[in-house]
């Protein structure tokens, strides 16, 4: 009698487990399908006005080589002879020798433009770029901020939960419409070469500033 009771209990246990597993699977499938439908219309992108170029993009992507790359807005570039997106903070000389370059992978190409002025064009060698954002820091600090990071959609897997977004200290990752997948910097016509933050509210700007400062302080003290 006791054995029979135990048999029923075991059967119940297995049946209940199967039911629970089945229901969980069904729920997960429904959730996955609904997220998939949602994801089909939007993709991940970095808001360049919020990005603090912390370096996490290079290491948190699920891809071995990050989907994030540096892009260059030539319209707001100063075409500087001494560009600190290209040169390290203490260049031994102003030439393209590897030791003078800021980019650890040599992914920025500097090309002299034929003109009486010493203008130089800077382009990104994408296969070499790993999205560390070091050049972005240099360009933002000394230049016009024409170098910035973007998720490249020829590479991005558009994961439902982007691991870089989760690790982004400034909350720069956004879902954007798939038909407009890039957030590019704009030229401010009055100030000639500055970034456009007009789409952000004062509260958002304050929040970004606060987050970024906290992040910077963390890095400084590390």
């Amino acid at each position: 009698m006791t054995e029979n009771k135990n048999d029923i209990n075991r059967r119940h246990f297995l049946r209940s487990s199967l039911w629970a597993a089945g229901l969980t699977g069904l729920g997960a499938a429904a959730g996955f399908l609904s997220r998939k439908t949602h994801a089909r219309n939007t993709v991940w992108q970095i808001d360049p006005e919020i990005c603090v170029a912390c370096g996490n993009c290079a290491t948190y992507c699920v891809l071995e080589e990050s989907a994030v790359k540096c892009v260059h807005a030539h319209a707001i570039c100063g075409y500087c002879r001494i560009c600190f997106g290209f040169f390290g903070p203490e260049p031994a000389d102003i030439n393209e020798a590897a030791e003078n370059q800021l980019c650890p992978t040599g992914a920025i190409i500097r090309k002299y433009m034929k003109d009486d002025h010493p203008y130089y064009e800077y382009t990104i060698d994408e296969p070499l770029c790993m999205g560390c954002g070091k050049c972005v820091l240099g360009c933002n600090t000394f230049g016009n901020g024409s170098l910035f990071l973007q998720v490249r959609h020829d590479r991005c897997l558009n994961c439902n939960e982007c691991s870089i977004a989760a690790a982004c200290p400034s909350g720069a990752y956004k879902r954007v419409p798939a038909d407009k997948p890039y957030l590019l910097k704009k030229v401010d016509t009055v100030r000639n070469s500055e970034t456009d933050q007009t789409h952000l509210s004062k509260k958002e700007k304050r929040m970004i500033s606060k987050k970024a400062r906290r992040f910077s302080n963390g890095v400084d003290s590390a």
Partner: protein, 344 residues
């Protein structure tokens, strides 16, 4: 049978417990929030802290009084009038203050002023984006000069008894007007015969000032130089070099962004990137520092975190007859006044 069933249930429980333990360890160990940093090596860090440190022995000025709050949310330019009043351009207005910081008056403008200067007769010359406007001390508009075109971005203006010079960063040229607004000359355009290579202006910072010797001084920030021109547009000489490492040089891609000339003909220069205000003698020899990044911003290295902070306007400088130096902090929209430390 009972024993076998009990053993099976225990096995399932142990498996569940192990799975939960692995999950907990994974959650604790995995850095899904990025708080542990990128994990990139030292070659990926960008640190300007060392470059921003200034030898205290080089600092020749002190800041004895609290800063003057302009009340602007966006300040652009500073000028000191011959009577010592401090004029600030910002937020579609000009505000003028006494040395004590008391607001003396305000002139409302139709648009954002880019630069200003106050003439000896008290007239206020205001550079708007593409034209010049002139006001009297009561705020009455006396004249509006010709529009200089869509590309014009006027960034600096200075006036002498008969001449008005205006720097246009958009067209990379200096306009020479007379005081009635007639254009006399364009200065600084590329001219091989005159050996003028032209102005290299990567960002909208392009300053000028009339020197005490009568020559016009113009910053050529892309070449890290200050150039001296006659009013006819002949380039007489220039000085200045690039260096991020040596304090004697101008740092970054394009500096100095602003400068002023003291009564003893020496220069007060202002740099962006590594924010610092320095003194050079009349021949361009570095003599000392007014204030570095640490004094001006509280940070020795990078002073900005967000792109918006980094791309905010550069600080501006002005001087008065008593060798005081007025620094317009365009981030905090305050005026900081520095006086020379007396030699003991």
């Amino acid at each position: 049978m009972k024993t076998r069933l009990g053993t099976t249930n225990i096995k399932i429980l142990v498996a569940v417990f192990i799975a939960i333990a692995i999950g907990v360890v994974a959650i604790v160990k995995l850095d899904t929030t990025g708080k542990k940093g990128s994990g990139l090596g030292e070659e990926f860090t960008y640190d300007l802290e060392k470059l921003g440190i200034i030898d205290p022995n080089l600092i020749l000025y002190k800041e004895p009084a609290p800063a003057i709050d302009t009340g602007f949310s966006e300040s652009q330019s500073i000028a000191v009038a011959p009577d010592g009043s401090i004029y600030i351009a910002g937020d579609k207005a000009i505000r003028f203050f006494a040395e004590s910081g008391n607001l003396l008056g305000e002139i409302k403008l139709a648009d954002m002023p880019m630069c200003l200067t106050v003439a000896g007769d008290g007239k206020i010359y205001v550079g708007m984006k593409d034209h010049v406007e002139i006001y009297d001390g009561q705020g009455k508009r006396l004249a509006t000069w010709q529009n200089l075109g869509n590309d014009a971005v006027l960034t600096s203006i200075d006036v002498s008894k008969n001449d008005v010079f205006v720097a246009d960063a958009g067209n990379r040229i200096v306009y020479h007007f007379n005081t009635t607004g007639n254009l006399i000359n364009r200065i600084g355009g590329k001219d091989k015969d005159k050996k003028i290579s032209g102005f290299f202006i990567p960002s909208p910072h392009f300053d000028l000032a009339i020197g005490n010797d009568g020559l016009l001084r113009v910053a050529n920030p892309g070449n890290h130089r200050i150039e001296a021109y006659t009013s006819e547009g002949d380039l007489e000489f220039s000085w200045g070099t690039f260096s991020n490492v040596n304090i004697e040089g101008f740092c970054g891609c394009c500096n100095p962004v602003n400068f002023a000339i003291l009564a003893d003909k020496s220069f007060v220069t202002c740099e962006k990137g590594l924010v610092r205000v320095k003194i050079y003698d009349q021949d361009g020899v570095f003599t000392g520092v007014v204030a570095g990044s640490k004094q001006l911003t509280g940070k020795a290295g990078r002073i900005c975190s967000t792109p918006a902070e980094c791309q905010s306007r550069a600080f501006d400088v002005a001087v008065d007859a008593h060798e005081r130096i007025f620094v317009l902090d365009t981030n905090k929209n305050v005026v900081r006044i520095f006086t020379k430390i007396k030699e003991e």
